[in-house]
């Protein structure tokens, strides 16, 4: 299917022990999701597509 995910927010998810990004916390179609940094994951692929298209910004975590 041609995806049309409605992503209303995206923020880095930080692993507090390592301090490294471990995921993207995104609200997609009204649901909060924890998206792994895996190009084979369809949500991650769509986040990256929208970032490259300039329609979405992944915010840095405020930790």
């Amino acid at each position: 299917m041609e995806t049309t995910m409605n992503i209303t927010s995206a923020t880095q998810g930080i692993d507090p022990m390592s301090g490294n990004p471990s995921s993207i916390q995104a609200t997609i179609d009204g649901q909060l999701m924890s998206i792994p940094l895996d190009p084979s994951n369809r949500h991650y692929a769509e986040v990256m597509r929208q970032v490259e298209a300039g329609t979405l910004v992944v915010l840095e975590a405020s930790v």
């Binding site: 299917m1 041609e2 995806t3 049309t4 995910m5 409605n6 998810g13 930080i14 692993d15 507090p16 022990m17 471990s22 995921s23 916390q25 179609d29 649901q31 909060l32 999701m33 924890s34 998206i35 792994p36 895996d38 084979s40 994951n41 369809r42 949500h43 991650y44 692929a45 769509e46 990256m48 597509r49």
Partner: protein
């Protein structure tokens, strides 16, 4: 059909592919409904039967039905005020077959499908781009007042393999109001064979490669990392998933005399096999807590 003809057909089928594991479609018998058995959601996503997405306007539900042809338990019913799109996909990289030959698609339909179109095409992952190769479009469906098996040859010969071809997409356009489907099968070769019924356990495990849910709650222990952040025991997934899944918390809380909800949780160490819940609360550092988490894990194509 004579016995000689039956044996000849069986030989032909055998030449085209294995007699078991013929159906490339996961949950083609609509036996597994991990998300819900009915949904009124309109968006383009997965809501009801495992491995099947839907997209619709108007009101009503896409739901499970017990009106079935002989040998089946469930079908999918488009119980909405207007038609819409219904689809699924075959993951190509793990099927162990050559998709670039003759395939045969078959299904049981009931309802007025005269305005329905079926599209098959090789696709990239859904987030990654447009159609790469369209194979077949069928538009001559009928008005099936009783369950009718429809067979469609799918000629993929001559299609060059392409890096974009991660899945074979199967999509019904304008799936009709009141329409029902079950027994969807896609198999190698130019012969349609009887639907391959699989056990619920087998079909569920196949579905869990793409989607899993706690189906209630899990109770991992939480070890506080500091006074606001903890690490829970890794949650092992019963079936290795296609890719690292998107994890969603349905609900989460921890016990500290009474139950407290967790907030702003993240998930770490997410792999196709497991993930770790990193809940946020307020607790005394290093005093373990009992956690309670409901979750879903999504690695759909």
């Amino acid at each position: 059909m004579s016995k000689a003809r039956g044996l000849a057909d069986l030989g032909n089928v055998y030449s085209d592919g294995a007699l078991s594991n013929r159906n490339m479609i996961v949950n083609g018998g609509f036996g597994v409904w991990q998300r819900a058995v009915s949904s009124s959601n309109l968006g383009l996503s997965y809501y009801t039967a495992d491995r099947f997405w839907s997209y619709a306007g108007g009101s009503g539900n896409v739901e499970r039905s017990t009106d079935v042809p002989d040998g089946f338990i469930y079908s999918l019913l488009w119980n909405r005020a207007s038609g819409g799109s219904l689809g699924t996909s075959v993951e190509l990289s793990r099927q162990g077959f050559n998709p670039y030959g003759m395939l045969t698609c078959s299904m049981y339909l009931k309802g007025n499908f005269t305005g329905t179109a079926l599209y098959l095409n090789f696709r990239n992952y859904s987030g990654g781009g447009a159609d790469s190769v369209a194979i077949t479009t069928k538009t001559d469906f009928g008005n099936y007042t009783d369950w009718t098996r429809v067979t469609i040859p799918v000629d993929c010969t001559g299609i060059a393999a392409h890096a974009n071809n991660k899945m074979l997409n199967i999509e019904f356009g304008n799936f009709p109001v009141g329409g029902k489907i079950t027994g969807l099968q896609l198999e190698a070769g130019d012969q349609s064979t009887p639907f391959e019924h699989r056990s619920y356990a087998d079909e569920l495990a196949r579905c869990q490669r793409y989607y899993q849910t706690s189906n209630g709650t899990t109770n991992p222990s939480i070890i506080p990392y500091n006074t606001t952040t903890g690490y829970a025991n890794s949650i092992q997934l019963p079936v290795k998933m296609r890719a690292s899944p998107t994890v969603s918390k349905t609900s989460g809380r921890y016990y500290g005399g009474v139950w407290y909800a967790t907030n702003n949780d993240v998930f770490g160490q997410v792999t196709p096999n497991a993930f770790t819940w990193i809940p946020r609360g307020s607790w005394t550092a290093y005093v373990p807590r009992l956690g309670e988490l409901s979750w879903t894990a999504d690695a759909e194509l």
